[in-house]
Symmetry: C2
Subunit: 390 residues, 2 copies
C-alpha cells in the first residue's frame, strides 16, 4: 500500500489520513477537517466535492451493544478485531443477529472454526430480501452444516455479567447463553455531514443524486454506500449498498467532478453470495417486489440439474423466474444450488435489462456441452414452462 | 432402455429397429423399408414424415481408411469399438486427423490413458473455426498436457503393413509411425434418401427446411444433423450439427408433424467444450465471419481474472468480443480459460440475440461477489474498452 506521500507524488492528490470532517459549507466551497491525533482543525477550499462517507453497521439500540464481546462487521478492522478476540478468548457459543449476506457468510466462518453457531432472526427464513424458495434452500444448507437457525426469535435484551460482558440473549422465544454476539443487521448510510450542510436525502435516508452522481448542490457529488441508486425496473431510487455499485458510482462521480459527463444508469438488483457450498444469485425483482409495484405477476419455479445428470459434479439447482403475465416481460430471476449458479445469473441479468420476454428467452441459442449444462439450459426450461402461464 | 414392444405399448408408436429405408416416395406418401437381418422389404404409408437421418463422419477418401486401426467417432458404438481395440491391442502412438471438438476431446482422452498423442492438422491452429486467439490458448494447453500438435501437416497417405494395418502416416511434412488413427474431420449430412426422393438441399449440402422444419415437400419434415439451420446474424442457412440444435429441431418437427404450429428461430452459433482443464466457449460471429459478411468490424481482446485475484482458484481468462463499429452492435463473444468460462458465455449469447450494443453492455448490472467475479466482470471490462473503438 502506498503512503499518502507516495500517493501525492504519483497522482498529485493530497491525502489526509486520520482526519475528520467537522463541517461542510457547500455555498462557500469549504470544508473544515480535524487532525484526529493532533486535534488541530484547518479549512480547505474546493471547487468540486465528492462525498463518499459510506455506511455503518445498523444498531438495535439495545443496552449492552457496547459490550466487548459484541461485534459488527463492516470493514477490515472489524474483521481483524473479531478474529483476535476469538483467538484470545476462545468463545464456544456464537449468536448472530440478522440473516443477510454478512450474517450467513459469517455463520459459515464461525462454523468452520468449530464454534457452536446460532442465527437469531425475527423473520421466518434466511435472506428474507430474496425469494422464500431460496430461503428454504439456504435454511436446509445451514441445517446440514450444523448452524442453528432460529426463526421468529426477536432479540429483546442482552444478559450481562458483572464485567458488562454479554452472557446470554433474551429473545421473544426464550433466553440463550452466548459467549460472543455478531450483530449483522445491515447498514445505514453516513449522511450526517451532508444533512448538516443541507444536502438533500431521499426517502431511503441516503443522499439523493442525479444520474451523474451530483447531489442537489451543484459541484457536490456523492457515491457509494452513503447514497441512493436508481432502480431501473422499480423506476425510482433505492438504497442498495453493494461493492460493485459503489465502484461504478465512484468512477462516475470522479469523472464528473473532474469536468466529465459520465452517467450511471442504475441497477436492477443483481447480487450473489455463497453460504457453505450453496451459491445464491438473484437479479431483477422478486415476486413480492413485483406484486408490490402492482404488476400482473407470473412466476415459474423449476428444479433442474446444473449439468447433464450423468456428468460428475451435477447438482440440483433451483430457478425461479418472475415475469409480467400480460406481456411476458421478464422481471427477475433467482437461483440457488451448489454448482453453476452464480455465473448463470448474469444471463438473466442481461435478459431483464434488455426487457426480454419469456417468449424470446425460451428461444435463445445457448452454448451446450454436457459438463456445463443440459441440452436445454435450466433458463430455457423455466422460460418455456412460463409460456403456459401467459 | 425400452424394447420396441414396450415403446409401442407405452407410446402407441411402431419402432422398426435394424430396418433400412430403401426408397422414399413423397408424392405417394410411402416408404419402403428393408429388414436388415431377414432381407425382407415392406411398404409403409405415411401422412407426415420426419427425416432424422443424421450425419456420418467425413472421410478423406484416402486408401487405407478401412484399416482396422483407423477409427472415427460419431456414435456410442464407435466409442465402444475404439475403447475395446485399445484395451486389446495396447497401441502406443495415436495420430489424430483434424482439430475440431472431437479431435481435441479425444486427444485428452488418449493422453489421459497414457498414449503418445499427435494431432496432424493442415491449418495453423487448433479449432480453426474459432478465433485465432482462442486457438493459441488451446495450443498452449495441448503443449502443457503433452499432446503434440503438428500444424500445416496435411495427411497424404497411410503406410500399411502386409495385413493392411496402418503403421505410419505420410504427411506434407514427413512420415510419422503410428499404431492407431482417429479420423476426426467433422461430419457430412446423410441426405441420400432425401436426394433420391427429390427433396431439396441447400448450398451447405444439408436438407433445406423452413422455420417449421418442413422440407420443400409439404408434410415432410427434417430435423437434426441431416438438415440446415438458420443463422440469425448471418441471416441465412448454415450447417451446424450440434446436439442441442438437433434436439430443438426435433421437437419442432415432431410437433408440426402432429398438426402443431411450432417454429424454430435458428441459432447464433453458441457452443462450448473443454480440452483438459481449458474451457472454450463461443457465441455469435467470429471476427473473420463478421468481416466475411462485409460488416465494419471492431474487436476487443482482454485478459482478465475469472474472479477477484486474491480468491482461491482465480484463473486468467481470455475474452474477445466482436462488434459493428458504426452502431456498436455486439456480434459475437469468444472465451477461453480454466475457470468461469462456459457458464459466462450465455450472458453474451443473450446480448447478441437481443441486438445489444457494447454501449448498453458496458452498463449492465451484474451480480458481484469476489469468489465469482471482479467488481467489474470481464464482460463489462471488454465492453467498456470497446467503446474507445467506436
Amino acid at each position: 500500500m502506498r503512503t499518502p506521500e507516495q500517493f501525492k507524488e504519483k497522482q498529485g492528490i493530497d491525502v489526509f489520513l486520520r482526519h475528520r470532517v467537522r463541517r461542510l459549507d457547500p455555498r462557500a466551497g469549504r470544508i473544515e477537517v480535524e487532525d484526529i491525533d493532533k486535534g488541530e482543525t484547518r479549512a480547505l477550499d474546493f471547487d468540486k466535492l465528492v462525498l463518499a462517507t459510506g455506511a455503518r453497521s445498523r444498531r438495535l439500540g439495545m443496552p449492552g451493544e457496547e459490550a466487548e464481546n459484541l461485534f459488527t462487521l463492516k470493514d477490515l478492522g472489524d474483521g481483524i478485531r473479531l478474529k483476535a478476540y476469538i483467538d484470545r478468548e476462545q468463545p464456544k457459543r456464537v449468536g448472530i443477529l440478522g440473516s443477510g449476506y454478512i450474517a450467513l457468510e459469517m455463520a459459515e466462518a464461525f462454523r468452520t472454526r468449530g464454534l457452536e453457531t446460532t442465527i437469531f432472526y425475527r423473520g421466518t427464513r434466511p435472506a428474507s430480501h430474496l425469494e422464500p424458495e431460496i430461503g428454504d434452500w439456504i435454511r436446509k444448507e445451514l441445517d446440514e452444516k450444523g448452524v442453528q437457525f432460529l426463526p421468529e426469535h426477536t432479540p429483546l435484551s442482552f444478559v450481562r455479567n458483572g464485567k458488562g460482558k454479554i452472557v446470554a440473549l433474551e429473545t421473544s422465544k426464550g433466553q440463550y447463553p452466548l459467549d460472543l454476539v455478531l450483530s449483522a443487521l445491515g447498514v445505514v448510510p453516513n449522511t450526517e455531514i451532508a444533512a448538516e450542510a443541507g444536502i438533500g436525502r431521499g426517502e431511503t435516508g441516503a443522499i439523493r443524486t442525479d444520474e451523474g452522481q451530483q447531489t442537489d448542490h451543484p459541484g457536490i457529488y456523492a457515491a457509494g454506500d452513503c447514497c441512493e441508486v436508481y432502480h431501473q425496473i422499480l423506476e425510482g431510487p433505492v438504497y442498495m449498498p453493494l461493492g460493485d455499485v459503489a465502484n461504478k458510482q465512484g468512477r462516475v462521480a470522479g469523472e464528473n467532478a473532474a469536468g466529465g459527463k459520465a452517467t450511471f444508469d442504475g441497477v436492477i438488483g443483481s447480487s450473489c453470495f455463497q453460504v457453505f457450498s450453496l451459491q445464491v444469485a438473484s437479479t431483477g425483482l422478486t415476486e413480492k417486489t413485483a406484486r408490490g409495484k402492482g404488476l400482473d405477476v407470473g412466476v415459474q419455479n423449476i428444479e433442474a440439474s446444473s449439468k447433464v445428470h450423468y456428468m460428475p459434479g451435477a447438482e440440483p439447482l433451483l430457478l425461479k423466474i418472475v415475469f409480467e403475465r400480460s406481456s411476458g416481460r421478464l422481471l427477475g430471476g433467482h437461483m440457488a444450488g451448489r454448482e453453476g449458479v452464480a455465473r448463470r445469473i448474469n444471463t438473466l441479468a442481461v435478459a431483464v435489462q434488455s426487457r426480454l420476454t419469456v417468449q424470446s428467452l425460451s428461444k435463445m441459442d445457448f452454448a451446450y456441452a454436457p459438463q456445463f449444462s443440459g441440452a436445454f439450459d435450466p433458463i430455457l426450461i423455466a422460460a418455456e414452462q412460463a409460456l403456459k402461464k401467459l
